[in-house]
Amino acid sequence: MTFLEGQAERQGIAIGASGDTRVRSASPAAHPATVATSEETPIKMTARKLSVFYGEKQALFDVSLDIPDRQIMAFIGPSGCGKSTFLRSLNRMNDTIAGCTMTGEVMVDGINIYDRVVDVVELRRRIGMVFQKPNPFPKSIYDNVAYGPRIHGLASSKEELDEIVQTCLARTGLLDEVSTRLHEPGTSLSGGQQQRLCIARAIAVSPDIILMDEPCSALDPIATARVEELMQELQKNYTIVIVTHNMQQAARVSQRTAFFHLGTLVEWGMTEQIFTSPVDDRTQGYITGRYG
């Protein structure tokens, strides 16, 4: 049983028949649009005692956290608190950083993604990522979205590829804006459009999970609102983890929130609870703006 199993059937059926009873198999369409404020929500990802080091320096200390399936979880905390590091360790993007090592484990659907049998390339297809600064490839809008499906052979014909590109652009609300100029460079779009293009590119390979690293920090309020709307929409089919500096954003979009401070996970739980009655003084201090 590897994490990679079931690639073919991934649209409909989840993979996690690995004995973890909390993992639920359901097709995206059948899944309720908004779920759960209760603890019965199935868990998609689990981090256990995760520590990350950059060379000698430890950036993350024994983080253990559950990420619910098909919900939005927000990571908040002051700069340098390790939330981005944690996010990047969820799809092994930290592998690309020289001198970065880690201990502990990250389970997705019951499989440790740091296990030797896991193919990191396939892993990253299933766990997509959207970055702080929009990073469209220097290609046309169409080719940006088609890039992932092409390299993974997700489309068997030109028509099918067109279909995927259209669908993904439509889901991000970009199709109407760019339908006449699909073959212009993606870099010619505005910042907000570029970010939505990157999201369309990410969902084009139909991942299970989308990690977003401060996706709105380079955008203006209107573009931010559009991306937030999009996240609400995507949440029906995808598990979303977002790192944000903007506490209002975390409160607006997420069901769960985790607060990081100096490389440790201070507190996590239902968003409402974190923002209204935090347990820890540090969380209280951060959300009321005493530091950060």
């Binding site: 993007m93 990253r124 959207v130 970055f131 990073n135 390299i151 390979v205």
Partner: protein
């Protein structure tokens, strides 16, 4: 009083002028824009120093350029009638150089007493000229310094003037490059037109026979010469193609390894070593080509049953390809490294393998830089002479077979200009015509490549 002393004194004066100007700078009063001085004290110093230095520098250069001519004409004017009478200007210049060498203390045989006298006078004039220059420069520097210093007052806009003068100097510098280029092109055109007066253009451009001999004496048989440039250009093409076939894959692969796969330490160590390849003198590559590669290729050819000439385009092209590899690898490496990491992350986050990322994202994004490296390599290949002379020979064969000896444009230019020959026969003038066509070709390659780059480049910003 020699030029060195004058220069040193002038430099001292400039420094002094700077200090004077600086001291003179109005007190800065930052309380209100209107009453504040317009620049920091350094600008006032620079303003006075420029006034002190620039006119003197111009005068200095003009003096050095003109003084010898003036002195010469003065000396010639004092020469006795019987020496100058009825002499053409070239004969007069011979007399002048005789005087110069006498003045420098080099006498051959028993010099004419009139000439010795002239030489003595020449030395004397030269001393006077230097002395005069010193005095004039000194007074000019003092005058301009005082002048500049006198009109510094509270609202004097020193920074604006200094920046204006600096811009002027920058413009002058860039003009030098442009004027030089234009000068070279014009002289090429001029000399080529003289060549084309002797040999028809179509014969030169489309002739299939290159035998640039001319009769040494009147009526010599079998030495009419043929100036068909096609074999020479085909030779250049063959050698360059062999070189590029070797160097483009080699350089590109090396660059990809260096920028994407190699560890930082390896890259740090290997890159300079690779770049040393470009620093080896081409004559050394020539030895290597003619003493090692060419015999080896002949031998290998013999084993395989292919006849490889001892002088062959393939040996020259092979060694040249190795030589120009660093241009491609180094510039491609820089271009790949300059592609932002966000694109690598973006591709990785979509589940692209490293190879897919390189092929489909990084190489297109780095294309302009890679093209730049390839272009530089092409122009090096076309312009390379030494390796070809040694390894490919000078026989102008019209062939596309890289196993045969060929010759290139640059090699022919060298052979045409070597030896005693005047610049009024087609043989030497042909060198200019070859140079002109070569220039137009490389220009064409550059323009085409620029267009390609512009069309296919994928801007990542």
């Amino acid at each position: 009083m020699n030029y060195l002393t004058t220069t040193l004194v002038l430099l001292g004066l400039i420094a002094l002028a700077f200090t004077l100007g600086r001291r003179r700078a109005p007190v800065r009063d930052a309380t209100w824009v209107k009453t504040a001085s317009h620049a920091s004290p350094g600008y006032y110093g620079a303003y006075v120093a420029l006034w002190c230095g620039l006119p003197c520098l111009i005068l200095f250069l003009a003096w050095i350029a003109l003084a010898p001519t003036v002195i010469d004409s003065l000396i010639v004017g004092t020469l006795p009638e019987q020496i100058t009478a009825g002499k053409s200007s070239s004969e007069l210049s011979l007399v002048k150089s005789q005087i110069h060498s006498l003045a420098a203390g080099q006498a051959f045989g028993e010099p004419d007493p009139a000439l010795s006298e002239a030489a003595a006078r020449y030395t004397e004039f030269e001393q006077v000229s230097r002395m005069a220059l010193f005095v004039v420069i000194l007074s000019l520097a003092i005058l301009t310094t005082l002048f500049a210093r006198s009109h510094i007052r509270q609202h004097f806009r020193a920074r604006v003037y200094v920046e204006r003068i600096t811009t002027g100097i920058l413009i002058a510098c860039s003009t030098v490059a442009i004027v030089t280029t234009i000068g070279i092109v014009v002289s090429l055109l001029f000399e080529s037109s003289r060549f084309f007066a002797a040999v028809p253009v179509h014969e030169f451009l489309f002739g299939l026979n290159w035998e640039p001999q001319i009769p040494i004496r009147e009526g010599q048989v079998a030495a009419t010469g043929a100036f068909g440039a096609i074999p020479v250009f085909v030779g250049t093409f063959v050698v360059s193609t062999v070189a590029m076939t070797i160097s483009v894959p080699l350089g590109l692969m090396a660059a990809i390894y260096m920028s994407e796969y190699a560890s930082r330490d390896f890259r740090k160590a290997a890159k300079p070593v690779l770049e040393i390849l470009a620093g080896i003198p081409t004559i050394v590559y020539g030895f290597f080509a003619v003493l090692t590669i060419a015999p080896w290729m002949t031998e290998m050819g013999a084993k395989l049953g292919i006849g490889v000439a001892p002088n062959s385009a393939i040996a020259a092209g092979f060694v040249m390809g190795i030589m120009i590899t660093p241009f491609i690898s180094s510039l491609s490496d820089d271009a790949l490294t300059a592609v932002p990491n966000s694109l690598r992350d973006g591709a990785a986050a979509l589940g692209a393998t490293q190879a897919e990322t390189i092929r489909q994202v990084l190489l297109p994004a780095a294309l302009p830089g890679i093209m730049g490296g390839v272009l530089l390599a092409v122009s090096r290949a076309i312009g390379e002479t030494m390796i070809v002379v040694m390894a490919a020979g000078i026989a102008a064969n019209l062939t596309l077979n890289p196993l045969e000896p060929v010759t290139t444009v640059t090699v022919q230019i060298v052979t045409l200009l070597i030896g005693d020959s005047s610049f009024d026969n087609p043989k030497t003038l042909a060198a200019f015509a070859l140079g002109l066509v070569l220039f137009i070709m490389t220009l064409g390659i550059n323009i085409v490549a620029l267009q390609i780059t512009r069309k296919y480049r994928e801007k990542y910003e």
